[in-house]
């Protein structure tokens, strides 16, 4: 008996048992409790291309978050300057993250600079010049560091918000990961309605309350005749009977009376009178106070509820609302109302998101891919096994056992490490079946040569393995290098190919060299054959 035989046999047996243990959950249906409490219960994790689902790469338009912040600051500055008695023409947000202010008196300049220094340290005076009439035109600019900070925060916040929304959407095992350049990867396995998911994730959901300017006539107003501080928005209506949409112009104050930032809850309710769904929202105490203020000061005026720049509704304030609750009505379907409640609950995105990449696989195609992949694997496997059996006879049995073990090992390693199996991954396994035989072919051809030279079976096996092993190892390293590079740079499904190819190479080295050698040693020792059927 060769040295270390027992040790090797035990090690190989241990590997096989371990592999089978990991394989069982994938093959079996429901696992008994005694199994799941002591042994691994994870099935193989299928990629989106096999189980169906959606893969999205989103880009948070952080520049818009920055300009929104500048816009907010400029609005705030109006109030602060009034408080500080700095007389100026309305501060205005300008492109390039600037705010322009025109001071009426030079004497106010120091006051303004003080105010900026104390309350808006992120801003600095960018340029200042005295106009002909003695007014001072100043530009404030947001510092580069602050721009970066706001952008980063927007990206993080967007990630959080999207995670919240997806959680409420009810997808099992979603994956939401930050990527380089403020991008977000979203993977939604097994999703039934991809378009609804896109709408839900991509909705900025910037809720704003703005007072309607009833003095302006929306029907005749144009950009030129728009009163200062006003803007023209549209209310979209859908006729339930015809499904047609119409839009109605509304002139509102540009100033945001209140945002949706203080919403604590949003849920769908049914209007008892018309049986139409609406979304009721609840504010926190600060929001309730603010909302009470606005409504009590503007009774009998209209308040526009603006979502992402579109007016949802513009009801007349009948009385002060101090209870901290409000309702958003509109021509919602039940589903739309539900999704709106979800996005309001999870908060607004700090900036719009853009879909850079979308890959969706329907569940039926995923099932087909699994079936076709497995069929081609089975057919390929059977053909190779038959061929090897005919060609090498008894030794072929050994090689085929190694091939079978190889498949078991690959599957086991995949489930043990919870690696994702994709369609190219299945292709990787199929390719491995074809290439794994190579190691045994090399060894067997060597053994045949040695036998031809007149060596005994034992010596021929010894020499065959000895001479072929190093070449086999070396030859496989090149494919392994390619697979590892592919793993590093590949994305999604292709990565799955790199994974199974790498695992396949490693396990085929084990099965084709160590495992078959053990079987040969066992056979030669037990039967001491005069001739080797190879």
């Amino acid at each position: 008996m060769p040295k270390n035989f027992a040790l090797k046999a035990v090690a190989v047996a241990a590997v096989i048992i371990l592999a089978l243990v990991y394989l069982v959950p994938t093959l079996g249906g429901k696992m008994p409790t005694w199994w799941t409490s002591y042994l691994p219960a994870e099935k193989i994790h299928l990629g989106l291309d096999l189980q169906g689902g959606m893969h999205l790469i989103l880009e948070v338009e952080t520049a818009k978050a920055v300009s929104a912040s500048v816009e907010r600051t400029s609005q705030e500055l109006i109030r602060r300057m009034r408080e500080e008695k700095i007389r100026a023409i309305r501060p205005k947000a300008e492109p390039g993250n600037r705010i322009s202010v025109t001071l009426l008196h030079n004497s106010d300049r120091a006051k303004l600079e003080d105010l900026v220094k104390q309350s808006y340290p992120d801003y600095g005076v960018d340029s200042a010049r005295t106009l002909d009439d003695g007014k001072i035109a100043l530009t404030l600019k947001l510092s580069a560091a602050a721009v970066k900070h706001i952008a980063e925060q927007a990206a993080t916040q967007a990630l959080e918000t999207i995670r919240n929304r997806v959680d409420q959407f009810g997808v099992s095992e979603p994956e939401i990961l930050p990527q380089a350049d403020g991008r977000i990867l979203v993977q939604l396995p097994g999703i039934k309605d991809p378009q609804r998911a896109v709408a839900l994730i991509g909705k900025t959901a910037q809720l704003e309350f703005k007072l309607v300017d009833d003095d302006a006539n929306p029907a005749t107003v144009t950009k030129a005749t728009l009163p200062p501080g006003d803007e023209l928005l549209y209310l979209y209506r859908r006729d339930r009977a015809t499904g047609r949409t119409s839009k109605e112009p509304i002139v509102v104050r540009r100033r945001v009376a209140m945002t949706g930032a203080n919403i604590t809850d949003a849920r769908v309710q049914l209007d008892s009178q018309y049986n139409e769904p609406y979304v009721s929202i609840a504010f926190d105490s600060r929001g309730a106070r603010q909302f009470g203020d606005i409504t009590s000061r503007n009774v009998k005026k209209r308040l526009a509820i603006v979502l992402d720049g579109k007016v949802q509704s513009a009801p007349v304030i009948q009385e002060a609302i101090t209870g901290g609750e409000a309702r958003i009505t509109g021509d919602f379907t039940m589903e739309e109302a539900r999704d709106l409640a979800v996005v309001l609950r999870s908060g607004a995105l700090p900036a719009p998101v853009k879909i850079l990449e979308e890959r969706t696989v329907g569940p039926s195609l995923g099932r087909d891919s699994i079936n076709q992949g497995l069929t081609s694997m089975l057919v390929g496997f059977v053909l190779v096994v038959l061929f090897i059996l005919i060609y090498y006879r008894l030794a072929g049995v050994v090689a085929n056992l190694a091939l079978l073990l190889n498949l078991v090992l690959i599957t086991a390693v995949l489930s043990a490490f919870q690696a994702t199996l994709t369609l190219p991954g299945i292709a990787g396994i199929i390719l491995t079946i074809g290439m794994a035989v190579d190691a045994n072919v090399l060894i067997f051809e060597r053994v045949r040569e040695e036998l031809r030279l007149g060596k005994t079976p034992y010596a021929a096996v010894e020499a065959g393995y000895g001479k072929a092993t190093l070449t086999i190892l070396d030859a496989n390293i090149t494919t392994l290098i390619a697979a590892l590079v592919l793993f590093q740079f590949g994305t999604g499904a292709i990565r799955g190919f790199a994974v199974t190819l790498s695992i396949g190479i490693a396990s085929s080295l084990f099965t084709a060299i160590t495992f078959t050698r053990l079987l040969f040693d066992l056979y030669l020792h037990l039967f001491r054959p005069k001739r080797l059927l190879i």
């Binding site: 853009k354 074809g434 051809e445 496989n476 697979a483």
Partner: protein, 406 residues
């Protein structure tokens, strides 16, 4: 059972010029095809655009689908019947850069549903890649090819003759050259991954040059075979007007691995036989017998690989078909090249082409294309055979040259 009799001796090396002509023609066809097609036909992974796989419950045709898509600006789409089920399943592809991708998949869905009826259309797959991501993926794919070449080249330059010191030099020079080219590219302003193409070309040129200078004959042969295989696979793909996708790149990298695998096995046999023959043997004959000795292995392994790939190609479904095709082509070309190109090409790479001895070899090389191989393993003490070959080459400076060579 035996397919190849043990005493077989087919004259592969004698066919080498025919093989070189064939390979040359194939490479020429690749270049012509790429020129005619205006470069590789990039799929939406790299070019950006949209791909939709739809199944209808009733037969229809490409023209009708295009017409249905006209209102949303996709009337120029490429529509292909897909899969085996008659005229029911189609692949719609549009790489028009003017398309507004936001919400496009939804528009396609709605438009088709409006034309064919809500329950008669099933959108089975949507792939939409924006131009930015397309450029990113292009860069990633090229970088993958670049790093794979870099690592593999360093590995095989040290591997054959166990000259790991030379491999280290190789790595250092390659990295240096790469950094230099990268700096130049950055200075010139990189355009859409065009820079990485230059990196790849530079690394290949530097590699081939270095292998020549450092006398790494086997490494050089392996790299030439590798380039040969990848180029021809790309060419066949281009001739068939197949699209290059992420999967194609994965297949190309696998082919690089497979091609080397084959080459390494034949080369190892050649080196083993040279060692045994003590370099008295004619190199051409040794190469030929080595190829013959490994022939049954070559046929068996590529046979089983081709069988599984064919099974994947035929039964694996449309999504994976092009991937299987690329691998099939690569395996066929790789097998051909390891027998007809990689091995005979060793004869074209004469020994003694180091910087130190260039003058001598230039005089000698054309006269003796089938010169004996140099001693591959510098670590062992000078064997009688080696001394014999040294004597054969004569000259008093010989011994000093040998010392320097180590």
């Amino acid at each position: 059972m035996e397919l190849i009799k043990p005493d077989v001796n087919i004259n592969f090396v004698g066919q080498r010029f025919k093989a070189f002509i064939l390979s040359g023609l194939l490479i020429l066809a690749t270049v012509v095809s790429l020129l005619l097609h205006g470069g590789p036909n990039l799929g939406i992974d790299f070019a950006g655009g949209i791909l939709v796989q739809v199944r209808f419950s009733e037969s229809t045709d490409a023209g009708a689908i295009k017409k249905a898509l006209e209102p949303i600006g996709m009337g120029q789409s490429l529509v292909q019947s897909f899969g085996g089920e008659g005229q029911k399943e189609f692949l719609i592809r549009d790489e028009n850069q003017g398309l507004k991708l936001q919400g496009l998949s939804d528009r396609v869905r709605k438009t088709l549903a409006a034309t064919y009826g809500q329950d008669k259309v099933e959108v089975r797959r949507v792939e939409m890649v924006g131009p930015k991501v397309g450029a990113d993926l292009r860069e990633k794919a090229l970088l993958a090819i670049f790093y794979a070449i870099l690592l593999i080249v360093v590995y095989i330059s040290g591997r054959f003759e166990h000259k790991w010191g030379l491999a280290a030099i190789m790595a250092a020079v390659l990295v240096g050259a790469t950094l230099l080219v990268e700096a130049l590219i950055t200075a010139a302003g990189d355009q859409e991954g065009g820079g990485i193409v230059w990196l790849i070309i530079t690394s290949l040129v530097v590699t081939v040059g270095l292998c020549w200078l450092l006398k790494l004959r086997y490494a050089l042969g392996a790299i030439v075979a590798l380039i040969h295989d990848v180029v021809i696979t790309v060419g066949v793909f281009s001739l068939l007007d197949k699209e290059f996708t992420l999967a194609t790149v994965a297949a190309l990298l696998t082919i690089i691995g497979y091609s080397l695998n084959d080459t390494i096995i034949v080369y190892d046999r050649i080196r083993e036989n040279l060692k045994r023959a003590g370099r008295q043997e004619d190199l051409g004959r040794t190469i030929n017998s080595s190829v013959n000795q490994t022939l049954s292995r070559t046929i068996l392994t590529s046979g089983t690989t081709l069988v599984v790939l064919l099974s994947l190609y035929i039964l694996g479904g449309g999504v994976i078909q092009d991937f299987a095709l690329a691998l099939l082509i690569g395996v066929v070309v790789g097998t051909y090249s390891s027998v007809f190109v990689a091995s005979p090409i060793l004869l074209l790479l004469p020994e003694g082409t180091t910087v130190l001895t260039r003058r001598r070899s230039r005089a000698a090389a054309p006269a003796r294309p089938a010169a004996p191989a140099p001693a591959p393993e510098p670590a062992v003490p000078v064997s009688p055979a080696k001394q014999a070959s040294a004597r054969k080459r004569k000259g008093k400076k010989k011994s000093s040259r040998k010392r320097r060579k180590r």
